[in-house]
Amino acid sequence: MAESQTARQNGFWMSPDSSPKPASWPAILFNWIIAFLFLTLICTFAFAQLRYNWNWGVLVKYQNFFWRGWFKTLEISSISLVLSTMIGFLAAVAGRSSLLFLRALTRIYIELIRGIPLLVQVSFAFYVIADAIHFGSRLAVGIFTLSLFSGAFISEIIRGGIESVGATQLESARAVGFTKWQTYQYVILPQAVRVILPGLAGMFVSLIKDSSLLSIISIEDFTWNAQQVASLTYSNFECYVPLAFGYLVLTLPITIWIKWLEGRLHFET
């Protein structure tokens, strides 16, 4: 009995009332290396089983495709990151508006966008809507659709953050005499950001990867270029390896940056 209890305390599952114990940094480093090697081993084993004639030469030969595509994806992602955050914030605020129409509009926007596959949205936006208004820029349509898509999710994340700020805080803000916008700026957002950031990190990472879907309207992004090389040279696997690393190079810094921000914005309640 006593034994099983200790096992439960120190074991695999963490009890809800305890947080992980702080560890010394050599122990942390050691465990990271072990975990990394463990996963490497599995991958190595899997690839070793594969009977495939690797032809890495194509990567060097067609490296310009990859570079061009990677920079295009960087461009699309950066613009969409900013745009989707703005859309998300506006939608979150509009969703709390006192105008019923605005609230209904935001709700419809969020539920439609979240429920329909991005693939469908991108094709629809380009082949139907953009075509109808004779708007020919694939890139602009792609970026805008992607931002609208991510913005819907981001607005829900931001809404959660805004709602996490207690009613007493809003009351204090009112008592002090802040206007509605000052209350957002000085009271709500600085407190909501803590709640928003972890979700936002995940969303940003998804957005970068989702940008690969824009290749279906022939936006020449990273994925599109890799697919071109793959079909030119019949070397699917070789082309997907740089694709994997290329996206990681974009997503990891975002995750690390937001973790860092979280630490900086930490305050006790």
Binding site: E171, S172, A173, A175, G177, F178, Q182, Y186, F267, E268
Partner: protein, 243 residues
């Protein structure tokens, strides 16, 4: 201050919280509102603070009518200082910033000026050494004192205290009540909602007892607390003074 409340009525949904509340004082420095919970005293205070609108009725402060429209109320709230039970302070700001930010953003002081004013006031309340601390690092009593300092910093025409000590232990309560008593000495005008009868007696010019959304009795503290006329007041006092 000259304070006139003309038959305030207020309901939340089906529940009537204030019913035909009338008060009139030609010259009162400190008005203390007492009464059982749910009797309407906090609601009355919040309407005076401009945080809540009455369904009907008027408020005159120093002969000036308070207009219950959002735009006018914003200016009204900026001219009074309100202190709540707890969680007054913004947790992401330091004690100093809690005072200086409203001065800067709401009252148009320059950043340097706002900081200086905030420091002076913290110094006055022996809180200067805590200026850089966040609310979480302060004791409950210190937090309420910072909240009072913030309320005073804007030079309000009226201070409003909504049970400022009910979330505090006795020692911290004393620390906060000392500050309020000091403000009373300075002759500042305030309205206070409290359950501390002893304190009500020592600082009040006038005491009003609210129960069931009505003013049951209003007058000098000695009279109300020692020789109440109304049965409701007697019952309330006997219950609250029992232990």
């Amino acid at each position: 201050m000259k304070l006139r409340v003309e038959s305030f009525t207020k309901s939340f949904g089906a529940q009537r919280v204030l019913q035909d509340v009338k008060l009139e004082f030609d010259d009162v420095h400190s008005l203390v509102l007492i009464g059982p919970s749910g009797g309407g005293k906090s609601t009355l205070l919040r309407i005076i603070a401009g945080l809540e609108r009455p369904d009907s009725g008027n408020l005159f402060l120093n002969d000036k009518k308070v207009i219950y429209q959002e735009r006018e109320l914003l200016f009204h709230r900026r001219s009074v200082g309100t202190v709540f039970q707890a969680y007054n302070l913004f947790p992401h700001l330091s004690a100093l910033q809690n005072i200086s930010l409203p001065l800067e953003k709401v009252h148009g002081h320059s950043r340097v000026e706002a900081k200086r004013t905030a420091k002076e006031i913290l110094d006055r309340f022996q809180l200067l050494e805590h200026a850089g601390k966040s609310p979480a690092q302060l004791s409950g009593g210190q937090r309420q004192r910072v909240a009072i300092a913030r309320a005073i910093s804007i030079r309000p025409k009226l201070l409003l205290f909504d049970e400022p000590t009910s979330a505090l232990d006795p020692e911290m309560t004393a620390e906060v009540l000392d500050v309020i008593a000091e403000l009373r000495q300075e002759g500042r005008d305030f309205v206070l909602v409290t359950h501390q009868m002893g304190f009500a007696r020592s600082v009040a010019d006038q005491v009003a007892l609210l129960s069931g959304g009505r003013i049951v009795e209003c007058g000098q503290p000695q009279q109300i607390l020692e020789n109440p006329n109304s049965a409701v007041t007697k019952q309330f006092l006997s219950r609250i003074l029992k232990y």
